[in-house]
Amino acid sequence: MSEERVQELLKELHEGVVEYDEERVVAASKAVLDEGHNVYNAVMNGLASGMEEVGELYDQQEYFVPELLMCADALYAGLDLLKPHIDPADVGTTGAKGQVVIGSVQGDVHDIGKNIIKMMFEVAGFTVYDLGRDVPLEKFVEEQLKTDSEIVAMSAMMTTTMMGMKKVVEMIKEKNPNVKIMLGGAPVTGDIASLFGADGYAESAGNAVQEAVRMVAQLRKLQNQ
């Protein structure tokens, strides 16, 4: 098992994600499994690193949301194959072991940004409890308590639904002040996130990728140290 071959497969996974080539990602993922390479390494330094470049391309306005979605599909094509074979010991030493509750708030049926963030949490090794969209506000609180998740991530695409997030932040922080709360969506700004008492925010699907990429990039650095 040469280092050269490992690098070759990581490059295939990376480029397959960036060029939203699902077949290429699937072929490389199968090769990783067949040839017995480290699966967690393939996820983090192949798939996730590819998505990191996608985030940069979005930032540079070379990619837009359609491309992000297609890249996400390519990433999932690989992740679906690889994830069941990740050695828990790898995740245990370098990756995240957290749980996150995620959903679009009541009154909002948009979920593109939410789904991209969900994907990045999954890549990073989190257990994700996806409540879907148009989620009644109390449901976030119930699910956080039930799962004892460390993070609650909420999305609202419109100003008209954003106010619901404030109520959820209040309800959750009242019961458990240590829960980290992430807000996302077009109307969400840093000011609003801090006014609502949240711990982080991303204003669009692209920014969501950037935020999540930063999180995963930190994990990759740890892994590579």
């Binding site: 837009f64 949301v65 009154g107 100003t159 008209t160 619901g164 109307p187």
Partner: protein, 348 residues
């Protein structure tokens, strides 16, 4: 000069006494709804309540025009996609479409759209428009509005399918958007036949936060051109979100005016489009009318006028739960700074 005359002359670029105070998006506020002793959730299903809530808001704040309906679900609902009205939820939530077609194969559209005006809440909207048009002898300007073809498509079919399809399944998505364009035209012409003074086409999901300028040019612009060609009364091309990269193409679609939100660099847009273009915008209604202190509002409105708008428009629907003091400050600021001629419209 009545409010209606002011708005009509404005769109004809004729000199007017002062900047008209109106919008192409909802301007209903909670103060008017409370005065009527109803809840926000009730006004979406009753023509008189919808019309009255619009007119009460106009009277309360001295607006020149009104727009109904307040939610964007009516055509999707008429096509059988249902509606969630949130009647049992406290506070303000706009109706949403609960079930969208999962893919293009599932989408089922009628051969022609003339039958949809008797479906679901479409008659409620007609009734509300007629109420507003007849209010005080037709003294106020009344605007109709329709989602743009792409945004309307996103109301009936899953948006991610549509977005990915625009790159991967271009031919079929393009054909579907063509049918949505037929529907937008049918609705715009229907509202035109009821006698509204202007029509706003809100292609709000198509800014460059989402789509590349190239995709906008190829898949959005041709459909908007077809829509505006089919409208014979004043029309407004409104897009919220990032529009700096597409504002020239927006102006080239054939609408009477272009409306953008606070993300647009208005001074640059004015420079790009010249002084003949009617430009509308571009303050953040939630931040300005809900969050800010009343004393901060005047500077926001002044900046819009100095940026080169012909009428100060909010970038989106007003969030109904505005602060009364902020609304008063907004109206006062438009009156204060809107007395002078604007680039495209002179003063008496």
């Amino acid at each position: 000069m009545t409010p209606k005359q002011r708005v009509q002359k404005f769109f004809r670029r004729e000199p007017i006494d002062q900047m008209p105070l109106f919008s192409g998006m909802g301007t209903v506020t909670i103060q008017a709804i409370e005065k009527m002793q109803v809840r926000f959730a009730q006004v979406h299903t009753d023509a008189e309540l919808m019309g009255r809530s619009a007119m009460e808001s106009a009277k309360l704040w001295d607006l020149d025009g009104v727009v109904v309906p307040y939610d964007m679900c009516t055509p999707a609902e008429a096509l059988g996609r249902g509606v969630t009205l949130y009647t049992d939820v406290e506070g303000i939530l706009y109706p949403t479409v609960p079930t969208k077609w999962a893919n293009l194969d599932e989408a089922s559209l009628p051969a022609d759209f003339s039958g949809i005006f008797s479906q679901a809440r479409m008659p409620v909207v007609d009734g509300a428009l007629k109420y507003c048009l007849g209010y005080e002898g037709g003294r106020y300007a009344v605007g109709g509005w329709v989602l743009g073809p792409f945004t309307l498509a996103g109301q009936v079919i899953e948006l991610d399918v549509l977005l990915k399809g625009m790159a991967k399944d271009k031919e079929r998505v393009s054909a579907f958007l063509g049918r949505m364009t037929d529907l937008v035209i049918a609705m715009a012409q229907h509202y035109q036949s009821l006698g509204v003074d202007y029509i706003t086409i809100r292609e709000m999901g198509s800014g460059t936060d989402l789509l590349s300028p190239r995709m906008w040019k190829n898949l959005i612009k041709p459909n908007l051109e077809r829509v505006f060609q089919a409208i014979s009364i004043p029309s407004v091309n409104h897009i919220c979100g990032s529009t700096d990269l597409i504002v020239e193409m927006m102006a080239d679609c054939g609408a009477t005016a272009v409306s953008v939100d606070q993300k647009n660099n208005m001074a640059q847009s004015r420079q790009k489009l010249g002084n003949d273009a009617i430009l509308l915008g571009n303050f953040d209604p939630y931040k300005t009318l809900v969050q800010m202190e009343p004393g901060q509002v005047e500077a926001v409105i002044k900046a819009c006028v100095e940026g080169g708008v012909d009428a100060v428009w909010p970038g989106c629907d007003l969030w109904p739960d505005v602060k009364a003091e902020n609304m008063r400050a907004y109206v006062a600021a438009v009156r204060k700074f809107g007395g002078a001629p604007t680039p495209a419209v002179g003063r008496l």
